[in-house]
Subunit: 262 residues, 4 copies
Amino acid sequence: MTTTIHVLEKPKLNNPIFIEGLPGIGYVGRNATGYLIEELKAVKFAEVYSDHFPPVVLLEPSKKGLMIPIKNELYYWKAKKKGQSDIILLIGDSQSMDPQGHYEITNKVIELLKTYNVSKLITIGGFATGKMIEKRVCKVYGAASDEEQIKIFEKIGVKFKNTNIGQIIGASGLMIVEGHRQGIPGVCLMGETSGMLLSDPKSTESVIEIISKYLGIKIDMTKLEQRIKEIEKVIKKIEDLQTKIMSGTKDTKSDESLGYIG
Amino acid sequence: MTTTIHVLEKPKLNNPIFIEGLPGIGYVGRNATGYLIEELKAVKFAEVYSDHFPPVVLLEPSKKGLMIPIKNELYYWKAKKKGQSDIILLIGDSQSMDPQGHYEITNKVIELLKTYNVSKLITIGGFATGKMIEKRVCKVYGAASDEEQIKIFEKIGVKFKNTNIGQIIGASGLMIVEGHRQGIPGVCLMGETSGMLLSDPKSTESVIEIISKYLGIKIDMTKLEQRIKEIEKVIKKIEDLQTKIMSGTKDTKSDESLGYIG
Amino acid sequence: MTTTIHVLEKPKLNNPIFIEGLPGIGYVGRNATGYLIEELKAVKFAEVYSDHFPPVVLLEPSKKGLMIPIKNELYYWKAKKKGQSDIILLIGDSQSMDPQGHYEITNKVIELLKTYNVSKLITIGGFATGKMIEKRVCKVYGAASDEEQIKIFEKIGVKFKNTNIGQIIGASGLMIVEGHRQGIPGVCLMGETSGMLLSDPKSTESVIEIISKYLGIKIDMTKLEQRIKEIEKVIKKIEDLQTKIMSGTKDTKSDESLGYIG
Amino acid sequence: MTTTIHVLEKPKLNNPIFIEGLPGIGYVGRNATGYLIEELKAVKFAEVYSDHFPPVVLLEPSKKGLMIPIKNELYYWKAKKKGQSDIILLIGDSQSMDPQGHYEITNKVIELLKTYNVSKLITIGGFATGKMIEKRVCKVYGAASDEEQIKIFEKIGVKFKNTNIGQIIGASGLMIVEGHRQGIPGVCLMGETSGMLLSDPKSTESVIEIISKYLGIKIDMTKLEQRIKEIEKVIKKIEDLQTKIMSGTKDTKSDESLGYIG
């Protein structure tokens, strides 16, 4: 057993809905789930460790010198009023490095979710179109475990039919089919993104809006707008840097990217 | 244990013959077995799931938005009259992604087959000649676990001697030698194919004819002809596209191939 | 279980401090730990064997024809006077060849260290700046499991804040976060090195000085100076050879590098 | 457990000497051991199967159409007169495909050898010098588990000291160090070879002569000479073919090399 879930707290939850967002195309899943966790003030109750994650330790972005292990994290949120559902959210620094690990980690998480009688799985990813998207609102594509989920999510604007999606790679797909085999229905929501951005805030926003509609929870998008602007600055910098590199300019400080530890 | 067989039904079978057809050269094995399953109206009774399959989920070709897990499937067919044998068929979306998985999946399947007292193993593959084959009927090459199988299948037209085949990669070979070690004789039938086609319906037809002769079951080839024609249209399109690409033409819509999910 | 620790002796140790130095950038960790073992006359008490090490056997550098297996080794040293701590040191020929092995070996070692009530983990690595470093004393960078370690090691000259280090690869990082999860605080010390040297004695010396200060143990640096000079001769030779190769000269005897065994 | 030894017979042996020869540089080990098995008329008593072998099935070289599984084989030979030792020989079609498998298979074999109280391990490999060797007798290099083996084998002509050998890859090395750890001394004998030949009969002969001397068993070399000549013809053909390819000639029949099965 090389994947373990370290439980910090055992919350009492009522048929919660599960939302997953791990790193992937345009960081749509991770950023959407991260923003939901922040806005909902969700509480961490478990950590997932696995030999299938990269054998690497990260340093805190604060630049203070503290190490953080590679892990996935489980959060919960309790419904505040009638008509809302309890929620479990999965976020993390990494997916499995090797094909087999995807199956192992997925199965471990589903096993835990079953102890909480999770009623539905929502996984989030990005769908790369290969074209820059100018418009403010990106389409959200879907793929589901069964026809009923398609009906439910089509009503709130998700596009399921006649898409060009042929396959879904990694946790976002595996969790839905594994859950389905074990009796939990699910849907994978994929924000349209160019596939050329490290992070795509517009696509992230579109997915959050769908989820917010589905959950009947108002999510304040103000901070996401701000984060979008910040991330767009970073993306602008990267693009400028790339232009410089392409044109042969070599006056950029490159120390930052050279650091490597053994 | 990372490979599991999910049993849906436990049919009563009388020393069935086993037929395997998984993806490989020219899709000969998969297509031949798929056509047999359709024509015989064979019934699914088990599904094989494995961490050794790619960590990917497929979308139904119907473009409705439903997900299907990567799996192998076991079907059965009961003899309709004297002289026929019960049959178990194995078909699937994928073979193992890694070398070790081939052994694990093969062993799991053989283990199940032994509980049904399977009397013979027939695996199907393609043999790539590297040359386009114009003629309507392709040769069917064979390799067997023992001399008796060679005699039986030589009589109905399979070529065993003095072929240029040096090795058989993947499930088609492993199943025969594993079965043999455990007391079940077997033969691998390989349809001659160019190796340059994604799918080779002519080669598929030649193999089905041999199997139909061996089993004493008449298989209606009308629909295969139709499918052959359809697939040949697709192949024609691919060839046209390749010609365009080679000549520098770039006016093809390529969105379809760009979609990628993370 | 593919990683095993072969225990040669069970020393009685009093809350020892653990020091790790395995091969990595500039061989800073391995050389620093090796020099400490020699100077302290530490005693070997266990050997770590793993299927995750390369499937290779080394020949003793003495050129006598004796084989030595790839392994990691654990040494101990007992405090000689008040204020000093007992020490356990880990050194070795190799780290894991595959990602998962890093986790397995780390966990096995931490498990053993816990039976000795290890009080602190110090791992040693190199931080590649990408620039040749002319100055005699290299900076020592740090990353720690908690704020207290940062305070302790900042006082004796380790730089933690605002470094360009983003991640630590392999055992040096994993041991600290795994130890931390199990209640043992730790720090990773990284000697500044160019990243262009096979072995960096200057960087090694800087790290030994920090550790010597922290442990309150005087380490005689005379032999390290000598070893530094020797290694620098080797480096000089390699640079000369590279210049020859770059300029097309081919008169070098190359038999030595061609030997390969199967 | 993915490596299994299938025991066919349990011979009574008296502290046998073990000889290993698996595929490697110049096929020195495999060919030497193969020739010894033939000449001694050794008897097969066990087969080694492993998921770490390639997932491939071979066709018998007789071109009759029979499949043979990838395996390693154990043979025994009983001493015919005083002064001789019983012998166990290991030969095979393949070594492990992946690094970890080398350790697993080695350990499984050593485990079996211990049940026979094996007294010494002799493994055979090739040492590539990178130069064509014109002379009739090739040097035999050695590496041993301990000084005593060095003394014994130096006396009969093996060169241990001041060789350029730095490491031994695969089973030949691992078996000696694993055996040594478990109390069985051993030596690896490496026939000098250019490294440019698929098969090197001269080097093979030199190693057999050393082993024959050590065992006090006369081996009839007549058939090896013949085999050497045959193999040299093949090598000549390959060289001619390569010359043709280099000069652009394309009139060679290449069907044989194109066959590939899926």
